[in-house]
């Protein structure tokens, strides 16, 4: 499990530029499904046919997003510095002092114009220094439109893991591991590794339209309130089990879907916690609002420091999420 998370989080794949991470995931999932396809928006769809009778065989869509937040180069200046904008939710304060990496391996350091007060730090005052001495030299490595992500190795903190892009490569890892362990499911499963979630839940929307599922299950990270003076309404915490979503800013999970997940966890002794996330949305919403509507829920991995290079989670919560996913997919889905 740890190796899977490490290889997924280390892969490069900001929104809309998921080619590299897609190949890493495809290699990991290929042996656990019947076929993989890629759709118009770049979503990777791993299909596995079910063994059930038509009466209890559901078309199930699983969704975890491959993309990660990043930066997009908007301008190369005469001295070879790169100006940029954010791709998804990137804080200028988190970015300061970071090292970033482009798809071809080019690395850069984040610098800033002088600001008198740190609250005045905005992305348009910051730049990437790739060691180029001129615009022409910069252009040999980077062009306007290229994207960079945090460069950060995975680290083990006791039983916890800390890395960039846990959001949402851990969701992708949960899906792959669940498919690997799943012996027998009555359902036709479309495991979709979605694109462009961080910029508006886009890949899930078009892939859900294409698949036309009868049931949807998203996989993502969720915020926690178990760190000093975090001062918000988050009651989720690390180590308390898989988080079963009740609502987030984009979706209210239908109670019968939430209840199915809760009952499955209880019946199988899988540790879980309920998730009410006050801000932030997930692919759950895109699936739910597809065509004439799809019952959809979400299993989240509680994660600290989301959208920083040190997103931190507890392996036991990942394990609980995998177990819960396997049990849900093994049983009947009547919602």
């Amino acid at each position: 499990m740890k190796d899977l998370i490490e290889s997924f989080t280390q892969a490069y794949g900001p929104s809309g530029h998921e080619d590299q991470v897609r190949e890493v995931i495809r290699a990991a999932v290929a042996d656990h499904c019947d076929r993989t396809t890629v759709d118009a928006l770049g979503n990777l769809i791993a299909f596995r046919a079910g063994s059930g009778e038509s009466s209890n065989r559901r078309r199930v869509m699983l969704a975890g997003h491959m993309d990660e937040i990043g930066l997009i180069v908007t301008h190369l200046d005469e001295q070879g510095f790169l100006r940029f904008a954010n791709v998804g939710g990137v804080s200028p304060h988190v970015l300061l002092g970071q090292r970033v990496v482009f798809g071809d391996g080019t690395t850069g350091s984040i610098g800033s114009e002088r600001v008198d007060e740190i609250k005045d730090l905005k992305l348009d005052k910051m730049f990437i220094d790739i060691g180029a001495l001129s615009r022409d030299e910069a252009r040999e490595k980077v062009e306007v439109g290229d994207m960079a992500t945090y460069q950060r190795q995975l680290s083990e903190l006791g039983t916890r893991l800390s890395a960039k892009a846990m959001d949402d490569r851990v969701g992708c890892a949960v899906m792959v591991e669940a498919l690997r362990r799943l012996q027998n499911s009555p359902h036709d499963i479309y495991a979709v590794f979605t694109t462009q979630e961080e910029v508006g839940l886009r890949g899930a929307r078009t892939s859900a339209y294409g698949i036309d599922p009868e049931f949807g299950l998203a996989f993502d990270v969720t915020g926690v309130g178990d760190t000093p003076k975090i001062n918000n309404n988050l009651n989720m915490k690390l180590g308390a089990g898989a988080a079963i979503k009740v609502k987030d800013a984009s979706v209210v999970v239908p109670p019968r879907v939430k209840d199915l997940l809760v009952k499955t966890a209880r019946d199988n002794g899988i540790s879980y916690q309920l998730e009410v996330l006050v801000a932030g949305g997930t692919d759950t919403a895109s699936i739910q609002l597809t065509r004439s509507g799809v019952p959809a829920g979400c299993i989240s991995v509680p994660t600290r420091y989301i959208h920083t290079p040190v997103e931190t989670l507890e392996l036991a919560d990942v394990e609980a999420s995998v177990q819960l996913t396997v049990k849900v997919l093994e049983g009947p889905i009547e919602v």
Binding site: I72, T74, D77, D124, R205, S207, Y209, G210
Partner: protein, 345 residues
């Protein structure tokens, strides 16, 4: 060769939801040049060229509507109340001449003369809620005989050439896109199906494109726009976004779309091979119909090609006819290259 009169297209008035005259004009331009020409229930105009092959279907969109205002009523003295349609900052409003309703009657957005303003009034921002349009009426009854609630209001500005052959005009955003699309449809036949869609209500939320894309189901989406350009004094180079005269701008990402890296690379290779100047749109703010085209049904890869237009969403914008003509060349070369099978989607 120019075959579309850009001046005529830009001078037609068409605030979001009031695109009828623009649509009628485009119909006359396109009759006989396309295989199918029809409007849908929301007012989008579809101009389809069947092509010699069945796929891929390329949808090219340009929006007919422009930002402006609507009449909301009149007060006892005959002055009109109004509200904006689309993004216009209030600072643009005072001391402007406008045209109102189907008869395009003139009106003036007046303010108190400088002589009568207190010192504090001259420096502090005015209250846009207090602005009225003077149409020369002396009572509410008289005013409402001249105009109706819901009539469109546009700036009274005519298209023209100036300086070193630049264009200035009111609705360059996005009549330049409409003109490019009309040229592309009129100038040539193509190997693959091309569905040109002149969309409605882009400025109020990309609405026409949403239903048009659902109907067309494009396999490749192309958006033609007049886009922001800030190559002006007081702006630092990295915030110019685009520059007038440096070629059509290729979008990379905006608030609604991450443009397909495959299509962007292909556009660049086509431009370089054909010797067509181009630039990147160096910003991620704003949005256009690409967002709806790429997200309809099961989705499609999309790109956007824009003519840089200084001062858009104001009474007058400025662009380069060379950028416009090079945009026509780029779109044609792009469609031809798809027809030759140079890009597999």
């Amino acid at each position: 060769m120019d075959s579309v009169d850009v001046k005529a297209l830009c001078d037609i008035r068409g605030v979001s939801g009031h695109e009828g005259e623009v649509r009628a004009h485009l119909r006359t331009l396109l009759e006989g040049h396309v295989d199918d020409l029809r409007a849908d229930t929301i007012g989008n105009l579809f101009a389809r060229k069947a092509g010699r092959r069945a796929s891929p279907v390329i949808m090219i969109a340009a929006h007919m509507d422009e930002v402006g205002f609507l009449v909301t009523g009149a007060d006892k003295s005959g002055m009109l109340h109004f509200t904006n349609v689309g993004g216009i900052v209030p600072a643009m409003l005072p001391s402007k001449v406008v045209r109102i309703g189907p008869a395009a009657i003139p009106g003036v957005i007046g303010t108190k003369a400088v002589h009568l303003q207190e010192a504090s009034e001259r420096t502090k921002p005015f209250d846009p809620e207090k602005l009225r349009i003077d149409i020369g009426a002396s009572s509410r009854e008289q005013a409402m005989k001249l105009v109706k609630r819901g009539d469109q209001i546009t700036w009274d500005v005519e298209f023209g050439e100036f300086g070193s052959a630049l264009w200035k005009g009111r609705a360059l955003d996005d009549r330049v896109g409409c003109a490019i699309l009309a040229e592309v449809l009129r100038q040539a036949e193509y190997e693959v199906p091309v569905v040109g869609v002149f969309t409605v209500q882009e400025e109020v939320g990309l609405r026409g494109a949403a239903v048009a894309s659902y109907a067309v189901e494009p396999q490749i989406a192309v958006c033609l726009e007049g886009t922001v350009c800030a190559d002006i004094p007081g702006v630092e180079e990295q915030a110019y976004t685009t520059r007038v005269g440096q070629g059509p701008a290729i979008s990379l990402m905006d608030a609604g779309t991450i443009h397909s890296p495959v299509l962007v690379r292909h556009l660049v290779s086509v431009a370089e091979r054909e010797g067509i100047p181009y630039q990147y749109r160096e910003a991620t703010r704003g949005g256009n119909d690409t967002a709806r085209m790429t997200m309809a049904k099961a989705g499609a890869p999309g790109c956007a090609i824009s003519v840089p237009c200084r001062y858009i969403h104001s009474p007058v914008a400025v662009c380069s006819p060379e950028d416009y003509r090079n945009a026509v060349r780029l779109v044609r070369a792009f469609v031809d290259s798809i027809g030759r099978g140079e890009l597999t989607i």
